[in-house]
């Protein structure tokens, strides 16, 4: 009889980090003007490796976009994994509690009201819209979290309501249809250091919180009595988890629109490959999600270059078949 093996092997996390760095360098290097890895690394280290024009290209255009993609990917996949744990539902995704529809409504209001100066108002409006929708879901579900499914249902209802209002506003302002539509499909074209810095603040804070409580989160997959007997306060832990996941989601949505599928596909990929459902994998899920979205954005930029594909199309187009492949393999091997 030998001791059982470790539940989580941290080498996997290191592997995900290396993957993210490689994918990030790749994304900075590829484009209409390609730049070699060594020169990128030199530039990032502050050494002289590039001409002034190339420096601008790397530091002001490609780098913030890669970082924003990484932040958004990490936020969506990490909060997806947390929602799946809290609601004990493998199909839960970050947009579940009305965050997406609320943000969509906020964005639509911003786009119709601003006539041009869209990018000033849009992130703020969609952020506030997303948070308000989730708060409304909380408020309607009444007894804070006595029954996670009630919150889930009220989230769906609030989401439908917000979508209805959004559609109504769109019908009245047909000129807003196109920008709203392209925002819904997700875009990272607005990436600038300003957007990167404020979204980094919230997203890093939220992910750090989720990773900090990640070990305890495993208890929430059990019944509340079992969780209590293992030494956690399930109600309080759920509130912390949902607040952090919602903050990450709302920030990601307001920075980049609605990028679908990341929040479901990445957690399941990591869990499927490692054959572990423990939340100790949260940091790894965040890193893998970051790499996934950086790669997807690279595809969005380059596949139809010089035209750009909406990144949401890439994540679903590539993610869905790959996900089904993993799901199928998992079923075959476990039966």
């Amino acid at each position: 009889m030998s001791p059982i093996s470790r539940i989580w092997n941290w080498r996997i996390t290191v592997g995900a980090l290396i993957l993210l760095v490689v994918v990030g360098l790749l994304a900075i290097s590829i484009g209409p003007i390609s730049i070699s890895f060594p020169r990128i690394i030199k530039t990032l280290l502050g050494l002289h490796g590039l001409s002034g024009e190339q420096r601008t290209l790397v530091l002001d255009l490609r780098l913030p976009r890669v970082i924003l993609a990484a932040l958004v990917g990490a936020a969506l996949s990490c909060s997806g994994a947390v929602y799946q744990t809290v609601f004990r539902n493998p199909l839960a995704d970050p947009y579940l509690l009305g965050a997406a529809s609320g943000a969509g409504l906020g964005a639509t209001i911003a786009i119709t009201a601003s006539h041009g100066n869209v990018y000033g108002l849009l992130p703020i409006f969609s952020f506030v819209g997303g948070i308000l929708a989730v708060l409304t879901s909380f408020f309607i579900s009444g007894r804070f979290f006595a029954e996670p499914n009630t919150l889930l249902l009220s989230g769906i209802a609030v989401g439908s309501f917000a979508t209805a209002v959004q559609t109504f506003i769109q019908q009245r302002h047909s000129d807003a249809l196109r920008p709203v539509y392209s925002w819904i499909l997700g875009e990272l074209t607005a990436a600038s250091w300003r957007v990167v810095s404020w979204s980094a603040f919230y997203i890093v804070l939220a992910i750090a919180t989720m990773v900090f409580i990640s070990k305890k989160l495993d208890g929430l997959m059990l019944s509340d009595e079992e969780a209590f007997s293992l030494g956690i306060n399930p109600q309080r832990l759920r509130i912390i988890a949902v607040v952090a996941a919602t903050l990450a989601t709302a920030t990601a949505v307001s920075a980049s629109g609605l990028i679908g599928f990341v929040g479901i596909v990445v957690p399941h990929l990591v869990r499927g490959i490692t054959r572990r459902v423990t939340n100790r994998s949260l940091l790894t899920i965040a890193l893998a999600g970051a790499a996934f979205l950086v790669l997807a954005d690279l595809g969005a930029r380059t596949l139809l270059s010089p035209a750009e594909l909406p990144i949401g199309v890439i994540t679903a187009f590539v993610g869905a078949p790959f996900f089904l492949f993993v799901l199928r393999n998992k079923r075959v091997s476990s039966s």
Partner: protein
């Protein structure tokens, strides 16, 4: 010593437990018996500390409500089995209180291996809990409770989903715990088994404890037959062990049979 004084539990207007007072001896096995809906599970949850109550429940002088200082294992009747979680992860959760969350030392992992062996789950540690049979799932639950090294273990119908062979093996595992000094409180529908394993039996009927005492006394009491509408018969085997069987004849309620 756990002492329950004037315990009343209500959900809204509905009172589940009325004014219960009883004591539970350290290191003993107490079994709660009674019809469905009598309040047995609620009493277990109150003892765990997760349900609000009026009156008091103290465990060695400390009030139990939301008290995390104790180490109590809880084995529910219908556990939430996390999708995809492996047996190893599931049982390892039991160490979280002893080791701190997510800490998995070599000694803990060795200890878990020995528990898996004891509960006949060794070799299955990488299988998802959701794919185990009813008996294996129950053993995984018991294994997690063993991993906790608790001072008190609460079990809600630990044998209801099991065949006879597995009922005995689970109950024997619990008895080993009891022999190590752990206090055991369980609910059980099979009163024959309850009498076989538990030192004390408490009868819960319509939210009240109608009788509590040593198993032998309670088994032969009128209160027990009363709790089950006089639809049970108690026989005594040659070995002296009591056997309780259900009685089909409803018309004989007025004249309960005496022991054979």
């Amino acid at each position: 010593m756990i002492s329950i004084k004037d315990l009343t539990v209500s959900y809204g207007n509905r009172t589940i437990l009325h004014d219960i007072s009883m004591e539970i001896v350290d290191g003993s096995w107490t079994c709660l018996v009674g019809p469905n809906g009598a309040g047995k599970t609620t009493l277990l949850k109150a003892l765990l500390g997760t349900c609000e109550y009026a009156g008091s429940i103290t465990d060695n002088g400390e009030e139990v409500f939301k008290n995390h200082n104790r180490n109590v294992a809880f084995v529910p009747q219908n556990p939430h089995v996390p999708v995809g979680m492996s047996v190893a992860e599931y049982v390892m959760l039991g160490r979280s209180k002893r080791d701190g969350w997510g800490n998995e030392s070599l000694s803990s992992r060795t200890f878990i291996a020995s528990i898996l062996q004891q509960t006949q789950l060794y070799g299955m540690q990488d299988r998802p809990v959701s794919q185990l049979s009813g008996g294996e799932t129950q053993r995984a639950l018991i294994a997690r409770a063993l991993a906790q090294e608790p001072s008190l273990i609460l079990l809600d119908e630990p044998t209801s989903a099991l065949d006879l062979h597995h009922q005995i093996s689970v109950l024997n595992d619990i008895e080993i715990l009891k022999n190590r000094g752990v206090t055991v409180v369980s609910t059980m529908h099979d009163i024959t088994l309850a009498a076989m394993y538990a030192q004390y039996i408490a009868i819960i009927h319509e939210g009240r404890v109608t009788m509590t005492g040593p198993s032998d006394t309670v088994i032969h009491s009128a209160e027990l037959r009363n709790a089950f509408d006089n639809r049970i018969n108690v026989f005594t085997l040659d070995s002296g062990r009591p056997v309780i069987v259900a009685d089909k004849a409803i018309n004989e309620r007025e004249t309960p049979r005496t022991e054979a």
